[in-house]
Every structure is written in structure tokens, then in C-alpha cells.
């Protein structure tokens, strides 16, 4: 299976927060963005929207801080996942994660985080702007380069070199 990664593009995000809603429904069966694993951080007075979600870090602070190794790397999806059978709910990962990707569900007494929906992230599926996208790692760099090149070309055209 090709390795894919989640990327965000705040320029595309329209701030509709559908990703948050579908995430909470998919994982918890309820609509409640505070249970979502993705958060659209919005600056309403600047119109800047940045979806924040788990980066599935290689050297993940949450994994490092877990005292019982309940967080593990799923090699198939290259994601960081929780084994709830092991998790003791100490919340060290909540404090450790710099991205705010670790949430705490007081009702269940357990932490939660993005699991990439087992390879079919619902946030990506529902985002028609593709402000969050799940792309093949190998193509990622190339597409970003192309974007940059196009912007550059545009500037050159505009300023007549």
C-alpha cells in the first residue's frame, strides 16, 4: 500500500467546520466538534482558517510520553494510533502534544486522536475544497513544487520579467 500523508492548505479552507462534524459523528456517533479529532482554528477578524489535526509525527511526543506504550505506530498507514485496551488515561499525551491533536473524553475516561479513519479520512472525503487532503507522499513534494513554480511563473508574467 502506498504511503499517504495528510496535508492542509489554509488558503483553500473556507472554515465551514464540516470536517469537525463528520469526524465526531464517525468516531462518536454524535455531532459535537469538541470530540472531533480535527479542529479548524479560525481568526475571524482576519479571515484566516487553519485546520489543525494529528501530524502522525515520526518521533511523536505523545508516544514518547506514554508510560504504558498505548500509543503505537501503525506501519500500514504510517499513523500514530491508540490501543485503548492498554491506555490508562493518564493524559500525559494531552499535555505533550504540541498540536492539540490529543483530546480527552471525560465520559469515556479516555483520550482520543486521529486514526486516519483506517485509511479513508472522513474529513478529506467531505472537504470539497481539499483544504485537508490525504495524498501519496511521493506525489506530495512534486505537487507542491509545481504549485510554487506556477506562482513564480505567474509573477514573472505579471511583472513582464
Amino acid at each position: 500500500m502506498p504511503k499517504k500523508m495528510m496535508i492542509v492548505d489554509p488558503e483553500r479552507c473556507t472554515g465551514c467546520r464540516l470536517c469537525e462534524q463528520v469526524c465526531s459523528v464517525k468516531h462518536n456517533g454524535v455531532s459535537n466538534p469538541s470530540l472531533a479529532r480535527i479542529h479548524v482554528v479560525k481568526w475571524d477578524n482576519e479571515g484566516f482558517y487553519l485546520p489543525m489535526r494529528c501530524q502522525h509525527c515520526r518521533d511523536a511526543p505523545c508516544m514518547r510520553s506514554c508510560p504504558v506504550n498505548a500509543l503505537y505506530r501503525d506501519e500500514e498507514l504510517d499513523s500514530v494510533r491508540i490501543n485503548h485496551d492498554i491506555c490508562i488515561g493518564c493524559k500525559m499525551c494531552v499535555s505533550a502534544c504540541p498540536f492539540g491533536a490529543m483530546g480527552w473524553n471525560p465520559k469515556q475516561g479516555r483520550v482520543f486522536k486521529c486514526d486516519l479513519c483506517h485509511g479513508d479520512p472522513q474529513c478529506v472525503r467531505f472537504c470539497d475544497m481539499k483544504a485537508v487532503d490525504y495524498v501519496e507522499t511521493s506525489k506530495m513534494q512534486a505537487s507542491r513544487m509545481r504549485e510554487a513554480a506556477e506562482n513564480y511563473a505567474e509573477l514573472m508574467r505579471k511583472h513582464g520579467r
Binding site: P61, M63, R64, S65, C66, N69, P98
Partner: protein, 435 residues
């Protein structure tokens, strides 16, 4: 569904009450060989020693069972299982039918084949009934045979009651299953400072006395005494399982869902043989936390939730008077036969002692006495995460630099294993000055 649980110990009760927590349905019945509601065997030495009153050993009252609609049948040891009829038979000849059966009857005290073990005054403290006897026993000199955790705790309890106490250990050092020699010797020394006689590498030959105990004879000496406490360990109860044709080795064999080889019969607690969560080896850690964990897995599987048990882990502490020690994972002795580079990190500071056993750079076990013990949790975490201590050493500069992304626990671990002693100022006096 009728659920019958054999055994009213930690595991049996945890199964019953976790089931009830999840569903009000199903008939739940616990068959107990004893006459009490659930009590905690771990706490018996402290009751004997008078640290706590007797009622504290109980984890539940009879009302708790009633309130949760759990039937508790007391004084009914189960003698056989008929898996075809789906019934168990008690010693009184009563039949109890089940749809799901849970074996949680634990183990029984191992009674060494020594002459005179049936004398009056030969006691133990695994069961509450025995503990009651020991507590009421009015002796003055006690010999504790066996120096496992129970033995040491019993010795402490008796010392507190004013006994002259001897501990006799067949092997070379006390707490042999839990601690390495280096640690154990320190504990022995500590025990001696409290006035407990510790005799290691010594074999009890017989117990003297006509009806009551008058002394213990070992291969090295004779000890006059009026009390003998048997603390030579616990063997898993497997006989009952064998009546149902359940596969048994040292303990009852279970799969990862805690189900025995016979469908519909689960087992958990001290009577089962499971895997080590770290190494995957077949092990028997007869420890309370494992029993609890296994019991919850059983409860979930009975309800069809398909939970898998990740394995048991060794974690035990030894504590007497103001000496505190802890051990986890493997000892040097148990790693000696494994492939791979082993390394032992030792740190000593007065009475405090830390011993870490590394296998291929990764923490495989550890022991600690005193203040080092208070931070042992960090190393247990390192063991679970399989943190490589070699990498910790290599990355140390990164870990201690300001703004390091490494969680603080790495700094503390590094300090504890002596990477840079100046990095932590734990001097309480300095702290107090700041107020």
C-alpha cells in the same frame, strides 16, 4: 444467560462486577469456597500485624452483592465440572448450571513436604481464616519458612506483634523470584537491622513437637519456636479444570481472550498461565493487578465484546518498616539465559539503590530501594515503550538543551542513571530556602 464464577477472590469479583457494570441482564453467581465476602489477601499481613483493623481487608460487604443482583454462594468449594451438561458440582453435591463458566479460584498454598507440617502452630496467611488463626495465636517465637513477598510481610507483621522472628530461605537470597542478589542482600541487611533473623541457603528438615510446634530443624541448626508460618508460595489450582478436560500446564491454559480450551469456560487470576506483556513468554505472575485486568477481559468477552489480553506484567514491591523496595520486569537471573547484550546499571546513594537490567540497550527490568524506587515508574514506562537507553545516552545533549521536544521524563531518567548528576537539583533544603 447464566454466568457462574468459581472463586470469590479478586478475579472472580472483578468479573462479576464488571459484568454488572455493563449490563443489568444475565444471572451472575459466584461460588466461594470460603465463608466471607470478597477480601484482599494482599492486606492480610497488615491486619495480622495490627496496622489496620480486620474490616479493612474486605473489599465488599454482602450487601454489595445484593445491591448489584449478584448471587454469592458461600462455603461451597467446587469439586468438578461437567462441560457437557453445563454444570458444576460443589463439595456438598449441589449442582449449579451455567451458560458461561469462569474459573477464578486462584491457587492454593504450596505446603512443602516437611515432616511435622500438620503440627499445631503451623500456620499460613494466604486465606483470611488462616490469618485469623495467626492473628489470635499467642506465640513468642516464629519461624517463617519461605521468603517471598508474603513471607517477608508475615515476618514484619509478627515482629510488630512482638515475636522473635526467623526467616528461612532455601535459596541463596531472600525474595529470590523478585530480586537479584545485590538488591536482596541489601534487603536482608535491612531486615536484620529490624531484628529479624534471616537465614538463607538453608533447608528446613522437619518441624518438631508432639501436637504443638516446639522447634524447627534445618540442615544447619535447630530453632526452638512455638509458631511456624508457611510462606513457600502458591501453586495454581488446576485439578478442577482437569475434571472438565481443560488443557493445563503449570496453570490453566488460556488464549488471548482468556478462554480455556473448552468453549464457554473462561479462566483468570492466579490459576491461569498467560503471556508476559513485554516478552510474550508463557508466565505465571500471580499478582493482583494482572488478576484484575484479566477479569475485565473475561467480562468483556462473555458479553461478546471480543477483547484481547495483552499480557501480564511483573511488578511487585517489598516493604517492611521503613524500607521500601520495588521490582519490575526481569531480573538479571532471568535474563541471563536470553540472547542479546545484557547490561546492568547500578546506582547507589547511601541506603538508596537502583538496578536496571538492560537487554540490547532496552530496559528489561529493574529494582530499586529507597528514593530511587519513587521514580521507578519512569523506567517501567521506558520498558513499555522499549526506549533504547543507548539512544538516550547518545541524544542526551539534545534532551537536556533548553526547549527540547523530549518530555521531561527522559531528563529525569538520564539523571537517575547518572548521565549528569548536576542537572537535577532535588535538594530539599535548597527548595525550602526559596520560601
Amino acid at each position: 444467560m447464566k454466568i457462574v464464577i468459581v472463586g470469590n477472590g479478586i478475579a472472580g469479583n472483578e468479573v462479576a462486577f464488571s459484568l454488572r457494570e455493563r449490563t443489568p441482564e444475565h444471572e451472575i453467581k459466584i461460588l466461594s469456597a470460603e465463608k466471607f465476602p470478597e477480601y484482599d489477601p494482599c492486606s492480610l499481613p497488615y491486619y495480622i500485624g495490627g496496622d489496620v483493623p480486620r474490616e479493612v481487608v474486605f473489599r465488599r460487604s454482602l450487601d454489595d452483592y445484593q445491591n448489584k443482583n449478584i448471587t454469592l454462594v458461600l462455603d461451597s468449594p467446587v469439586v468438578s465440572i461437567d462441560p457437557h451438561a453445563g454444570a458444576v458440582v460443589t463439595a456438598k453435591g449441589e449442582k449449579h448450571f451455567y451458560n458461561k463458566l469462569v474459573l477464578a479460584h486462584g491457587g492454593r498454598l504450596f505446603i512443602p513436604p516437611i515432616e511435622g507440617v500438620d503440627r499445631q502452630g503451623v500456620l499460613s496467611c494466604k486465606l483470611l481464616g488462616e490469618a485469623d488463626k495467626l492473628s489470635e495465636h499467642g506465640g513468642s517465637t516464629a519461624v517463617v519458612i519461605g521468603s517471598g513477598a508474603i513471607g517477608v510481610e508475615a515476618a514484619e507483621a509478627l515482629k510488630k506483634k512482638g515475636y522473635v522472628v526467623y526467616i528461612i530461605e532455601l535459596l541463596d537470597w531472600i525474595l529470590p523470584a523478585l530480586f537479584d542478589e545485590a538488591t536482596a542482600r541489601r534487603l536482608e541487611a535491612a531486615l536484620r537491622t529490624y531484628g529479624i533473623q534471616v537465614l538463607t541457603a538453608e533447608k528446613v528438615l522437619r518441624i518438631d513437637g508432639d501436637t504443638a510446634v516446639t522447634g524447627v530443624v534445618t540442615d544447619k541448626r535447630e530453632i526452638p519456636c512455638d509458631t511456624v508460618v508457611i510462606a513457600t508460595g502458591v501453586v495454581p489450582g488446576t485439578a478442577l479444570a482437569q475434571t472438565a478436560g481443560i488443557e493445563v500446564e503449570r496453570g490453566i491454559k488460556v488464549n488471548s481472550r482468556m478462554e480455556t480450551s473448552v468453549e464457554g469456560i473462561y479462566a483468570c487470576g492466579d490459576c491461569v498461565e498467560t503471556i508476559d506483556a513485554c516478552t510474550g513468554e508463557d508466565v505465571m505472575f500471580q499478582l493482583k493487578h494482572n488478576a484484575t485486568e484479566q477479569a475485565r477481559i473475561v467480562a468483556r468477552n462473555i458479553l461478546g465484546m471480543n477483547a484481547t489480553y495483552t499480557g501480564a506484567y511483573a511488578f511487585a514491591r517489598a516493604h517492611f518498616f521503613d524500607t521500601h523496595a520495588v521490582t519490575f520486569g526481569k531480573t538479571s537471573r532471568s535474563t541471563a539465559c536470553l540472547l542479546g547484550d545484557t547490561e546492568v546499571i547500578e546506582r547507589e546513594n547511601g541506603k538508596d539503590y537502583l538496578r536496571l537490567i538492560l537487554l540490547d540497550g532496552k530496559v528489561a527490568g529493574g529494582q530499586a530501594i529507597g528514593t530511587y524506587a519513587d521514580s521507578i515508574g519512569l523506567f517501567m514506562g521506558a520498558m513499555w515503550r522499549q526506549d533504547d537507553i543507548k539512544t538516550l545516552r547518545k541524544n542526551w545533549v539534545n534532551i537536556v538543551r533548553a526547549g527540547s521536544p523530549y518530555p521531561w521524563i527522559y531528563r529525569k531518567m538520564g539523571w537517575l542513571i547518572g548521565l549528569s548528576a548536576t542537572d537535577v537539583s532535588s535538594d530539599a533544603a535548597a527548595v525550602c530556602q526559596s520560601f
